[in-house]
């Protein structure tokens, strides 16, 4: 009798313990899953540390992804990410959310090369290494099932140490536009070397420092089969086809080191704030002027580069195009996306989101720009100043060195429901920004 009571008591005790642990865990889960508006989405209660405008929420889709660069979401909401370096032989990741809470539940990988560019349309996934662009057939579910039978669309692009990544986009008419970054800061005889003059004319422009156009349905194309679509672009990481304008739009990483290379002409503060990061609408055969000029957004002028005799005041580049928008120096626009979704409020429609990676070349000044910006567009032109859309990626009030930043925005993609996805190649996190009000 006594033994039985004891047993019962133990059982109750164990049960109680179990319930308590369960309670504790579910409290924990609930905290992360407070959902408003959009049904089952697991919006992070603190928006995963990211500051977004009122009415928006942030879901942490996945973390520990390595260094995801550009991203693409297919029509069923699954996400492709291009990794800078493959992990266990996998350079493209495929994430799926099975239960609709927005958090990825399954992860698959393939493609044994690193890179930056990725793009998906109804039939194919496209991805780039630093020298090539590949195409993978999608099945009816939007999934790559035969990763080993990729077609090589473009090959043998130059890739040296600097600005080697190949960002690209498509125009919906079977053309690919790929950035071939200049393997140099400002085309000096000796790169980034004090006192070394600029090469005249800059020979790098023959095979890099611009956008090249290729067909999306021809194999093994290289320079001979492609066309230099635009030149004088130092390095374009973020680019997108604007279907309203039916034109390519690009963002350029401006030159570095005005002070360390020309200490007599530029002090450290000036060098931290010049030149502008720039956005251009590109027409065929446009020249944006690199390396001969840079854009000074205080004077609103194209200024002759010091490597070519400039002094910070002399203007040049009469035939070079002007930017349609400028941003603070060195903050590194790494992705551009024209928003066409239905989820966000009207003012976002057809405007440009830009993922800024954050600066390093402002040192010893404070580093800036670990954020996602927005530029409103009307009738195919910016209709207002750029604004901060999502901030706080660095996880610190003040960043003096980019290695301190927790997250660095690198890729953008729009989901079929109009969500905005943001990848981070420093913390390895994928964020999804949603509008929570109906």
């Amino acid at each position: 009798m006594l033994g039985n009571t004891q047993k019962l008591h133990d059982l109750i005790t164990k049960f109680l313990f179990f319930i308590l642990v369960l309670l504790a865990f579910s409290a924990c889960r609930q905290k992360q899953e407070i959902t408003e508006g959009r049904a089952d989405l697991a919006i992070s209660p603190d928006n995963a540390g990211i500051k977004v405008p009122d009415g928006f929420g942030v879901i942490k889709v996945a973390d520990s992804l390595g260094a995801p660069r550009h991203i693409a979401v297919n029509s069923n909401g699954a996400i492709y990410l291009k990794l800078r370096k493959p992990i266990d032989g996998e350079g493209i990741l495929y994430l799926e959310d099975q239960d609709g809470d927005g958090i990825a539940d399954t992860k698959k990988g393939f493609a044994d090369y690193g890179g930056t560019g990725i793009y998906v349309d109804d039939n194919y996934l496209y991805a780039s290494s630093d020298e090539e662009i590949f195409r993978y057939k999608l099945n009816a579910d939007g999934e790559v099932t035969e990763p080993y039978t990729a077609d090589t669309l473009v090959t043998d692009l130059v890739a040296y140490r600097t600005h080697a990544t190949k960002s690209f986009t498509l125009d919906g008419e079977g053309n690919i536009y790929v950035n071939i970054g200049a393997y140099s800061n400002a085309c000096q005889e000796e790169d980034r070397t004090l006192g070394s003059p600029g090469v005249m004319p800059c020979a790098i422009l023959d095979s890099a420092g611009g956008i090249w156009k290729f067909r999306a349905d021809k194999f093994k194309q290289s320079y001979a089969e492609g066309k230099r679509y635009a030149t004088g672009l130092r390095n374009v990481v973020g680019l997108d086809w604007n279907f309203k304008l039916n034109k390519l739009v690009v963002t350029q990483h401006g030159r570095d080191q005005l002070n360390t290379l020309y200490p007599d002409l530029f002090d450290q503060k000036t060098s931290a704030n010049l030149p502008a990061e720039t956005m251009y609408i590109i027409n065929e055969d446009d020249d944006a002027g690199w390396p001969y000029i840079y854009y000074d957004h205080y004077q609103n002028k194209k200024i002759l580069s010091p490597e070519y005799g400039g002094d910070g005041k002399k203007t040049a580049g009469e035939n070079a195009i002007d930017p349609i928008a400028t941003f603070p120096a060195h903050i590194a626009p790494n992705a551009l996306l024209f928003y066409t979704g239905e989820m966000f409020p009207e003012e976002y429609k057809n405007g440009a989101f830009i993922a800024f990676h954050g600066s390093w070349n402002r040192a010893p000044e404070k580093q800036e720009g670990f954020l996602v910006a927005f530029v409103p567009f009307m009738n195919g032109k910016p209709s207002g100043e750029w604004q901060v859309f999502a901030d706080g990626f660095a996880g610190l009030e003040e960043v003096f060195s980019p290695s301190e930043a927790k997250h660095r925005p690198t890729g953008l993609a729009q989901g079929p429901d109009g969500s905005l996805y943001v990848s981070d190649d420093s913390g390895g996190t994928l964020f999804r920004i949603v509008y929570t009000e109906q």
């Binding site: 140490r161 980034r192 070397t193 360390t260 060195s401």
Partner: protein, 166 residues
């Protein structure tokens, strides 16, 4: 007997509460990071270090570092991920003096046992700096950012230069 039984009841009950508090708490604190103090050098509390006692290469080397190296390797020596390597406790910074001098004098032309794609930037050679400046900046990086290694002298720089003729 009854008392002991009661106690037995209370203790596990209490531990449940503790476990719960602990679990809830761990859920709250995840994601928070403790700020680490940068002031680790507190050995000399009794004998305060005055500025004058700092070896001159630290202040002189810092000037060179700020003017030419800081832009890439950053104020904290942490470098820029994927672009410029950190100078914190690496073999190249702390190890063989001539290897370090070779990197400073030849820049990216120096033979580093590393895949060139790991850091996408290029470093120019700083052979145009004088022996004194090179010695100072080398000694400065060997004794900053938490590093500790024997300083390099101007005559060691001169000897290395005449050996490689640069």
């Amino acid at each position: 007997m009854v008392n002991i039984k009661l106690l037995k009841d209370i203790i596990p009950g209490f531990s449940f509460v503790l476990t719960t508090i602990f679990l809830l708490n761990s859920c709250n604190s995840s994601g928070k990071k403790k700020e680490s103090s940068t002031n680790t050098n507190i050995q000399n509390v009794s004998k305060p270090v005055t500025k004058a006692e700092l070896p001159p290469y630290l202040s002189e080397g810092k000037k060179v570092y700020r003017q030419v190296c800081l832009t890439c390797h950053q104020a904290n020596g942490g470098g820029v991920p994927g672009l410029n390597p950190p100078l914190i406790k690496t073999d190249y910074v702390l190890g063989d003096k001539n290897t370090l001098l070779e990197i400073i004098i030849k820049g990216s032309e120096a033979d580093l046992a590393r895949d060139k794609s790991e850091y996408a930037n290029v470093m120019q050679g700083y052979g145009m700096l004088g022996d004194e400046d090179i010695a100072n900046v080398a000694s400065y990086i060997r004794n900053s950012f938490g590093n500790k290694a024997e300083p390099i002298t101007a005559s060691e720089v001169a000897a290395f230069r005449s050996a490689i003729k640069k």
